[in-house]
């Protein structure tokens, strides 16, 4: 016995001629990388109209941040792009430091650059793994996760967390790196370039991979700029824009690296860009390790939250946490200024921008997050139109979106 479960689950048929019909892809779909819903209007297998729907993961971070102090709002940024949480933390800290005019010690800058690039590697490895899996290459997935695991272990060694770090602080970082961490990272860097070659052997000239990526999802340079694409999606179309070079933050102006560019603007060009970026990230980390200067890891004027070097084994119930020196709150200093700044950082997905308005209070009056994923999904409709439905999966993977960042 069969019967329709509810009316809404019947497949709706579009009015009009011939084979036109509509299909709802997601929000629960393995290839949409999160809770992305795409409403499709199809003519056979060709996409006539593509309407992405987001918001399933909206948690109101901008509203929440207005009700938290600058130091407290840091933990919200972990939950934006949870694949590369460290890069988001750093972006937030850099923006708040610019807003309040806080200086960062050199050692902290180097440590942040190292961790930022590690998180770029994490994100690119996960992107390659899932993107290849979507297109049909299973083996790459396992290879990428092998190396990603080493990086996550390193993060755990560094700050105790594997996913949501909150390791950078406004004005520095939370803890110093240990020599064991540096040694382990060096061992990873020694083997990593050969691992990238391994992935390339698997798919770089693979005939199926080329068929699925070359000439698919083409975006010209001007088009990409107009659509607001950033990161590897923009550079794959040949536009040389990388915030690390254009408006350097942390230690990026002290290290030597190249910004890989594509020319065709198709999925393959974006793939090549990201693969080359992994080489460059490894190069940046290597230089940072070699140059890592001694010194303090947090500036003297860091606001609100200063973690002690040694956490007491037991905190008496009667004394509050502030009294024991566990968390020191700086109240008296005239730290908070009014004004507004927009600061962009280069996260693995593209340009992550924070626009802050401060009215002299210790909470942001307004915090706007310019998230690359949100704009990339907005551009999906223009890119996927007129292509095959199978290529939509490849396009979503190639734009490298994460819904936590998109929906905020």
């Amino acid at each position: 016995m069969t019967r329709p479960i509810t009316k809404s689950l019947e497949i709706p048929v579009a009015d009009g001629e011939g084979e036109r019909y509509s299909l709802r892809m997601g929000p629960q779909h393995p290839a949409t990388h999160g809770v992305l819903r795409v409403d499709l209007e199809l003519d056979g297998e060709t996409i006539v109209e593509c309407t992405p729907q987001v918001g399933y993961l909206h948690r109101g971070f901008e509203k929440l941040a207005e009700n938290k102090t600058y130091a407290q709002a840091l933990i919200l940024t972990d939950r934006l792009d949870y694949i590369a949480a460290m890069a988001n933390n750093i972006g937030y800290c850099v923006a708040v430091e610019k807003l309040l005019g806080i200086s960062v010690p050199l050692r902290a800058k180097y440590i942040r650059t190292i961790t930022g690039e590690m998180s770029r590697l994490c994100s690119h490895l996960l992107w390659l793994a899932t993107h290849a899996l979507d297109i049909g290459a299973m083996t790459v997935f396992l290879y990428c996760f092998r190396e990603r695991e080493i990086l996550l272990d390193l993060f755990e060694e560094l700050c105790g967390a594997r996913l949501t770090f909150s390791y950078p602080r406004i004005g520095g970082v939370r803890q110093d790196v240990t020599s064991a961490f540096i040694d382990e990272l060096q061992r990873f860097l020694d083997i990593f370039p050969s691992k990238i070659e391994e992935y390339e052997t698997l798919i770089d000239t693979n005939r199926i991979w080329l068929k699925r990526t070359v000439g698919v999802g083409k975006v010209s340079g001007e088009e990409a700029l107009a659509l607001g694409l950033t990161g590897a999606c923009l550079r794959g179309s040949g536009v040389d824009y990388d915030t690390r070079k254009h408006q350097p933050y942390d230690a990026y102006d002290l290290v030597d690296f190249e910004v890989p560019l594509g020319s065709d603007g198709d999925i393959y060009a974006r793939y090549r860009c990201r693969m080359e970026e992994m080489h460059q990230s490894a190069r940046i980390i290597q230089q940072c390790i070699d140059q890592l200067p001694p010194g303090p890891i947090i500036g003297p004027d860091a606001p609100d939250l200063v973690m002690p070097n040694k956490v007491p084994a037991r905190i008496e119930a009667s004394t509050n946490a502030y009294g024991t020196g566990l968390i020191k709150l700086i109240r008296d200093r005239n730290l908070y200024v009014s004004g507004d700044v927009y600061v962009a950082t280069e996260v693995p997905k593209g340009e992550l921008g924070f626009y802050f308005i401060s009215d002299g209070n210790n909470r942001p009056y307004r915090m706007h997050i310019r998230s690359p994923s949100f704009i990339h999904i907005g551009a999906l409709a223009a890119i996927a139109k007129g292509e095959l439905i199978a290529d939509l999966i490849a396009n979503i993977g190639s734009l490298d979106v994460v819904l936590g960042e998109s929906d905020r």
Partner: protein, 195 residues
């Protein structure tokens, strides 16, 4: 080009539109009237020695709780950047107190489409001439605009759609997700009852 020089050029080009300009932490912003926003941004984008071709961000602000005098209730902020010439400027357009509205810039940057929808969704600022001005992050039947300062952080009521969803779950429970499997399950219950 120095950011202050850009704001001076802008003032010379649109003397009636610019209300004021200021610098903060090395970044320059100009406050403008909303009327000719599309012309101003097009001029910034297309002038050969400015070439602000990258719309970095677009967002709305509710100034209801700000202490600075003379601010209108709502404003829309555009952050522009020139990739070939490496300079930036911020344009703040005051859009009034009641029923705020401004012209859409989707014709200049198609990427502004979703940013304007987001601003409409969260702050209730209308964009005239936008091709598809719907809510984007919140459900279509949501009441209110959360980023307005008079919108509470915590509410007492559930979203109206929530009860609908719960009803639907109950309905689905009644039928079972798999009609075949459910029929078997019911038969088993029937047997137990008989015994």
């Amino acid at each position: 080009m120095e950011p202050v020089a850009i704001s001076d050029r802008l003032r010379a080009e649109f003397p009636d539109e610019i209300l004021c300009s200021y610098s903060n932490q090395g970044q320059t912003a100009v406050v403008v009237r909303p009327g000719q926003i599309v012309e101003i941004l097009r001029w910034l984008r297309d002038t050969p020695d400015l070439r602000m071709n990258h719309l970095r961000s677009l967002c709305g602000v509710d100034n209801a709780r700000r202490k600075d005098p003379g601010l209108s209730r709502f404003e829309v902020v555009y952050n522009l950047y020139s990739i070939p010439l490496c300079h930036e400027i911020r344009v703040r357009a005051e859009v009034g107190d009641k029923d705020p509205a401004i012209d859409s810039v989707v014709d200049l940057w198609p990427g502004a489409n979703w940013l304007e929808r987001e601003t409409f969704d969260l702050l209730g600022i209308r964009f005239e001439g936008h091709p598809d001005l719907r809510r984007v992050l919140l459900p279509d039947d949501w009441v209110g605009h959360p980023l307005r300062k008079d919108y509470p952080l915590k509410g007492k009521e559930e979203w109206a759609g929530m009860t609908e969803l719960l009803d639907k779950i109950k309905e689905l429970d009644r039928f079972g997700f798999d009609p075949e499997g459910h029929a078997h399950g019911q038969a088993a219950v029937q047997e137990e009852d008989d015994q």
